[in-house]
């Protein structure tokens, strides 16, 4: 009996301890009464330099503390002048940029033409290891500061010249009519002297010219941003500040939102999508974003580069019931793809609904027939390779495989092939080690059809991991880039896209939406086409 009593006491102690936490824990994140809210975040993978940030989470911060020459409209995605007063060109190759007056960095330094030119030169220079350096590759002299091999032979790009405090010129190596529209990308923002003079200090507490200023940054756990009162732009923050909290798992962030410890989650986990309406009511948003998911193919593999291969790929495409997968697995947060771009471009901007036509429509009988005509699946089975560490890729790969298996009446026609880490997956896919289709996701850098086509399908382009190569496509893209008339350029890009379709270079799966859920304290929440919340417009209370 004694033992039992001891156990009883121990149990009581535990209950008391838990209850004590109950009293201590909980509660919202706003004790001070200011209109500050918290938002989920993930630790950026790279140091927060503008030209070194190539993922959404770092981009989130940059979009709060920086403003560039152009700014993409949160609703339409259209590139509008921000710091630029005007960008002029006589020939689509030589550009003159004139800045607006009155812009400063939050530390008081004036934003001048130098701030841009220095920043771009820094970003392009090989020595600085900037992962987005290739954004500057259209500028003349890039090959000197960033040679493909060997040491760099220049410090600055010869194509950039400061004319006066508010004017600089850019000379490109080729005609590129939509170049000004790319300038809203984070890599093109200006940098203050502090960035160069005290680099470590700047990284610990970045200074920019956007509507927010960094108040405190604890790497790996949180960043506190406050409204910059003297912000000269029109899109000043409508709240007092944002606290970005680092979450390892978006499920935890969602749970915290439900418990009232967090105000905004901009990545609702796929498994919770079914509960969102019940949990949050109308405090939930699901809008198109510039992301498309595709299945890429190893065109370097002779099994996938035979006369009948295009037919097999088309057959696989028709064996995937996109409608049902997006509805059941993703609860409508993905839309079945019918072209290779994204609806956020808009009909005038290059998106063409239904361009894929019947090849993207589910039809089991047609799929079977096409695959048979094309010589059957190489080896009798396709393995869809994906990385298991991020995203919920297993979910949809399994669903796609089940769909293919059902369509082909073969339990083993398709199996998923998980790879443990993203790094391993990337190193296998970029070095042509895969022998079957693999997942390919593309998030646009700027809302132009060029960005959805050239990097992915142009011969030897940076993200053409399947090594697809088609002269006709390359020619059409070159022509579209040189086209000064927007409508004509779009039309030419679409003709290039038709070449992709006819060869089924990659199977388009679905367009990804951005989703966000928020607490009762917030209103006016919106996501921009890059699926990043428009923080400055959010109202608290």
């Amino acid at each position: 009996m004694r033992g039992a009593t001891h156990a009883g006491r121990a149990a009581c102690a535990v209950v008391v301890a838990l209850a004590a936490t109950a009293c201590g824990g909980g509660g919202g994140s706003t004790a001070d009464g200011a209109a500050v809210f918290s938002s989920s975040w993930t630790d950026p993978q790279n140091p927060l330099e503008p030209a070194n940030t190539n993922e959404v989470q770092g981009g989130k911060v940059l979009s709060m503390i920086f403003r560039g020459l152009k700014q993409y409209d949160p609703k339409t995605g259209e590139a509008k002048d921000m710091l630029a007063e005007r960008i002029e060109t006589p020939d689509s190759q030589n550009y003159t940029v004139t800045l607006k007056k009155g812009w400063t960095f939050s530390d008081g330094e004036k934003v001048t033409a130098r701030s841009f030119v220095d920043a771009w030169n820094y970003g392009a220079s090989l020595r600085n290891n900037q992962k987005n350096a290739y954004f500057f590759s259209y500028i003349q002299g890039y090959d000197k500061v960033h040679p493909a091999k060997g040491e760099q032979s220049a410090e600055t790009m010869s194509g950039l010249k400061v004319v006066d405090d508010r004017t600089f010129t850019v000379r490109l190596t080729q005609k590129f009519s939509s170049f000004p529209d790319t300038l809203g990308y984070n890599a093109f923002v200006p940098l203050p002297r502090a960035f160069f003079d005290d680099h470590a200090g700047w990284l610990a507490k970045p200074v920019g010219n956007g509507p927010y200023a960094v108040d405190a940054y604890t790497k790996g756990s949180e960043m506190r941003l406050t409204r910059w009162g003297a912000y000269p732009g029109e899109d000043a923050a409508r709240n007092d500040g944002v606290t970005l909290k680092v979450y390892t798992d978006n499920n935890t962030a969602y749970t915290d939102l439900m418990a009232g410890n967090l105000d905004l989650v901009d990545d609702v986990p796929a498994q919770q999508l079914g509960n969102v309406r019940g949990d949050l009511g109308d405090r939930y948003l699901n809008t198109p974003a510039g992301i498309i998911q595709t299945l890429a193919f190893p065109h370097y593999d002779k099994d996938w580069n035979k006369p009948g291969s295009a037919k097999v790929r088309k057959g696989l495409s028709r064996a995937i019931d996109r409608e049902q997968i997006t509805r059941t697995i993703f609860q409508g947060t993905r839309t079945p793809a019918t072209d290779w771009t994204s609806p956020v471009l808009g009909a005038q901007g290059g998106y063409k609904k239904g361009l894929c036509g019947q090849w993207c429509e589910y039809d089991a009988a047609a799929a079977k027939k096409l695959i048979k005509e094309g010589g059957g699946l190489p080896g009798g089975q396709v393995k869809i390779t994906y990385n298991a560490d991020t995203g919920s890729h297993k979910l949809w790969v399994d669903a796609v495989c089940n769909s293919i298996n059902n369509a082909l009446d073969d339990d083993r026609a398709c199996v998923g092939n998980p790879i443990g880490t993203f790094a391993d997956f990337r190193s296998k896919s970029t070095t042509q080690k895969l022998s079957g289709p693999f997942r390919a996701g593309w998030q646009m850098d700027y809302p132009l059809p060029q960005n959805f086509l050239q990097p992915l399908y142009y011969t030897n382009a940076s993200s053409n991991d399947g090594k697809w190569s088609n002269q006709e496509f390359d020619k059409l893209v070159d022509r579209a880039n040189a086209e000064t008339d927007v409508a004509k350029a779009v039309e030419t890009f679409q003709r290039a896209e038709e070449v992709v379709r006819d060869n089924m270079a990659a199977i388009p799966l679905w367009y990804q939406n951005g989703s966000a859920g928020w607490s009762e304290r917030l209103s006016n929440v919106a996501l921009n086409p890059f699926s990043v919340p428009v923080y400055d417009q959010i109202k608290v209370g």
């Binding site: 039992a4 001891h6 209850a19 790996g220 418990a259 990337r426 940076s462």
Partner: protein, 307 residues
């Protein structure tokens, strides 16, 4: 005794070198980390080469290892891919995980041994069966399910606790994560204690003690428990190291930025510096725990002597 401790401390040197070498090789086997740094886009070859050079990845493995060890002895554990010093990561991660481990171990010791003693003294009793059933539930439901369920119930439905742990990670916020982390080990400790107690309660010294007319609780605590604890202590000792490095799932569910989190990130990004640095410290923790456990043997069982 003192000599024994010195000898054990000296033995740590080869283990330390062996373990770091093993981990170093393992991370290297995983392949090229640079490909993962550029997102869904291929790094341009020049930048990739530059990055490899900067992280020393262009050198042969043995040279990388020697350079690394040389740096470690001067206290430089290298830099993570996001530009942070590994020592900086350690100084924030280890205290958090240490607190979490302490909470878990306290749960193991208090609940596990108590339940073990109770069930060991009362084999076949309903209490015993009840605890067995509980143990089973704990074992068969993976930690991530237990964790998510408790988090949802206590954190959201009933609102008793914060579902996630704040950056400071004080002890009171770590109670639930600690309990979740301890669950499987709790099952082990309970069963081990139970078996040990059941076995020893019939031994001569216990009978003697009872025959002497000692009060029952004195027999249990002074004689029975003390002699039954050796396997339990062994288990808990090894568990400390395991909990410190193995809390990946729990730390993830409760958003704790501790060792498990850093280690997992390091592994996923194939960041040799982070992984080897953290594992090195973990190896040291293991070695110290073992030493303490071995010394405890002598305390618990006076017949064991170290020379």
């Amino acid at each position: 005794m003192g000599q024994y401790v010195v000898r054990r401390l000296l033995q740590m040197v080869p283990v330390f070198i062996g373990a770091t070498l093993l981990i170093f090789l393992m991370v290297n086997v995983m392949g090229d980390p640079v490909a993962g740094l550029c997102g869904d886009r291929q790094c341009d070859p020049a930048t990739a080469a530059q990055l490899r050079k900067e992280f020393g990845l262009d050198k042969p493995v043995w040279q990388q290892y020697l350079t690394y060890m040389g740096n470690v002895f001067t206290g430089d554990f290298g830099t993570a891919f996001n530009g942070q010093e590994v020592t900086e990561l350690m100084s924030t991660a280890f205290p958090v995980t240490m607190r979490l481990t302490i909470v878990a171990i306290v749960f193991e010791v208090v609940i596990g041994i108590t339940l073990g003693v109770v069930t060991g003294l009362r084999r076949g009793h309903p209490v015993d069966s009840g605890v067995l059933l509980l143990t089973l539930v704990v074992i068969s439901v993976p930690t991530f399910v237990t964790g998510l369920l408790l988090q949802l119930l206590l954190g959201v439905e009933w609102g008793w606790i914060r579902p996630s742990v704040s950056t400071a990670a004080p002890f009171d916020e770590l109670l639930l994560p600690g309990l979740v982390l301890a669950t499987v080990s709790l099952a082990y400790v309970t069963r081990l204690t139970r078996t040990s107690i059941a076995e020893n309660r019939r031994s001569d010294y216990v009978r003697t003690a009872i025959a002497k007319g000692l009060p029952r609780h004195r027999v249990v605590t002074r004689h029975l428990l003390r002699n039954s604890l050796i396997p339990v202590v062994t288990f808990i000792g090894a568990d400390i190291g395991f909990l410190m490095g193995g809390a990946i799932v729990t730390e993830r569910i409760f958003n704790i930025h501790g060792v498990g989190y850093q280690l997992y990130q390091g592994i996923l990004r194939q960041n040799t510096q982070t992984v080897v640095g953290f594992v090195t410290v973990l190896v040291l923790v293991f070695l110290l725990c073992n030493l303490v456990v071995d010394l405890l043997y002598a305390v618990l069982d006076p017949r064991i002597r170290y020379a």
